[in-house]
């Protein structure tokens, strides 16, 4: 530290000290980015946001009224987080699975068994890819857990009536997320093109054809026609890997952000 000047004395009076080596590095990094993106324009807003989100420290109902009971249904309040984390797990393991999965109904013979290329790639994942069976298991179980968590979360919200004002729109978003979860599960069920997949696809196809007026168009849109084939698996693949995950992620993030704004409906 150099000789005391009026500048440094002023700074010390304000509680400011010289930044250390790490601080100087961060400052240089900030300056580098700031020169390009003018971050300082937003600094005040960031600071305000940073303080704003931590302003309120309200007490729980239990604290406020000095109750001697604890909220023993608390674990039910973590179901939303569990569903989101399960979705993240499914996304990560799903990305790994797409490296090996082939969405094709072209004929292939595996050990003398007549199958498709999709099913053949599943056998490759299960037997040849290192830990492939584990990645598939993680994908499967996180999907199962996500569905359970979403359903239970919905019933928790219903029975504690957390959908009431001001949370109506978030309830609607939650219903959309529930439907998206069902869609993710169903499309994923079709992809291996196994016996169960095939006949589940038949059920879905029949159901969409049976829809009044729109039946044919719906079947064409979702299954690529009124018969199962390559088009079906392509559509299911695109739905399961791109469209539905993106929609689910966006809706889930919005859902959580709204919860952040509005707070958890107070357990009591």
């Amino acid at each position: 530290m150099g000789p005391e000047t009026s500048d440094t004395m002023d700074a010390r009076r304000d509680g400011f000290t010289e930044p250390g080596p790490v601080g100087r590095m961060l400052l240089a990094l900030f300056a580098w980015v700031d020169e390009r993106f003018r971050l300082r324009n937003y600094a005040d807003e960031f600071r305000h946001f940073y303080y704003q989100i931590n302003l309120e420290l309200p007490r729980t109902h239990t604290e406020k009224y000095n109750l001697r009971v604890i909220w023993y249904w608390y674990p039910l309040y973590t179901l939303g987080s569990i569903a989101f984390l399960a979705f993240i797990f499914a996304a990560i393991s799903g990305i790994l699975l797409t490296f090996y999965y082939v969405p094709s109904t072209a004929e292939a013979t595996v050990n003398g068994v007549q199958a498709t290329e999709a099913w053949e790639s599943m056998t490759v994942i299960m037997t040849e890819v290192p830990l492939g069976f584990g990645i598939r298991a993680l994908h499967f179980w996180s999907g199962m857990v996500m569905v359970w968590a979403v359903v239970l979360h919905m019933f928790r919200v219903y029975f504690t009536q957390a959908y009431k004002k001001p949370r109506e729109l978030n309830w609607l978003l939650g219903v959309v997320l529930f439907l998206l979860t069902m869609g993710l599960g169903y499309t994923g069920y079709i992809l291996p093109w196994s016996q169960l997949s095939y006949w589940a696809a038949i059920i879905g196809l029949e159901m969409s054809i049976a829809t009044p007026i729109l039946g044919q168009y719906l079947a064409g849109l979702l299954f690529g026609g009124v018969e199962l084939g390559q088009q079906t698996i392509t559509r299911m693949y695109v739905l399961h890997v791109i469209l539905l995950p993106l929609l689910t992620f966006g809706a889930a993030v919005l859902h959580v952000v709204i919860v952040w704004w509005q707070g958890i409906a107070e357990p009591h």
């Binding site: 009224y65 298991a137 179980w141 996180s142 599960g185 169903y186 952040w260």
Partner: protein, 273 residues
């Protein structure tokens, strides 16, 4: 700057802004428990356990691979994944709802093969029947009944829920009607799930196929097959719903008589809110 100083500055700044905004009355009263950091800090603990459990389950129970698809070889039992069984069950109920289909389709006791057109269409809607086929009104095929008749009210109820159920009450005990309605929904979805695999159940536990009062009911109500399974599926939701409603009312009366501390507090709490 030390962590202690930083914290101190942070808290002071937060309190200053807090009181400033309180003075300006721009701070709305908090109606919920804060998501961040209060709720998330507790959640993170649970999430760590969840991650561990997930990896544990995954390593213990890898998922198997089904045999490849064989369009010619019809498996004996075809089912969607478990979380869609409720929907499949509603479809089967739609198939049973012959009140809407007219007197033609006698399906009781016949083998069910959903891959036949007849399974889905109990009422023959061919041109020779002379009945004008309309999409929604009039004779409908089973899938339309299941899809439109049973799924749509459910979806509408779920979507419209926050707009017709209003007010401040937040506990099942305060709204016995909504609570029993929720129990009814839960029970109906569960029994629809069970009923969707009725073939498997009849196969494994033949006692479930025992007809009860079938001859007496059939002329009036051609809905379920009125065997033991159908009776259970019909009665359990009703019993649970009535039980919930009566139970909550009785519990409330008792709490009021006793002047229970927690009950009074909660009641006052909702009055002031």
């Amino acid at each position: 700057m030390s962590l202690k100083l930083l914290t101190q500055e942070y808290v002071e700044e937060a309190q200053r802004m807090d009181s400033e905004q309180r003075a300006e009355k721009t701070l709305r009263p908090v109606e919920g428990f804060p998501f961040w950091p209060h709720e998330m800090i507790r959640n993170i603990v649970v999430l760590c356990f969840f991650t561990a459990a997930m990896l544990y389950v995954t390593s213990l129970m890898p998922y198997y691979l089904e045999s490849p698809a064989d369009p010619a070889g019809q498996p004996a039992v075809i089912l969607p994944d478990w979380y869609l069984l409720w929907s499949y069950g509603l479809l089967k109920w739609g198939n049973d709802l012959e009140i809407l289909n007219g007197p033609g389709g006698a399906w009781v006791g016949e083998p069910w093969h959903f891959w036949d057109r007849e399974w889905w269409t109990p009422w023959d809607m061919g041109p020779d029947t002379g009945i004008v086929q309309m999409p929604i009104v009039g004779p409908m095929n089973a899938e339309t009944v299941g899809l439109i008749g049973l799924h749509t009210p459910l979806i509408i109820f779920i979507f419209a829920l926050p707009f017709f159920d209003r007010g401040k009450a937040q506990r099942p005990q305060e709204q016995p009607l909504m609570a029993s309605l929720g129990v009814f929904l839960l029970a109906v979805l569960s029994t629809a799930t069970i009923y969707s695999i009725n073939n498997v159940i009849y196969d494994r536990w033949p006692v479930m196929a025992t007809p009860i009062l079938q001859e007496q009911i059939e002329p009036f109500l051609q809905f379920l097959q009125w065997d033991l399974l159908s009776w259970l599926c019909a009665l359990i939701p009703v019993l649970l719903t009535v039980g919930t409603y009566v139970g909550i009312r009785v519990w409330r009366e008792r709490m009021m008589e006793r002047g229970d501390r927690v009950y009074t507090l909660n009641r006052n709490y909702h009055r002031v809110r």
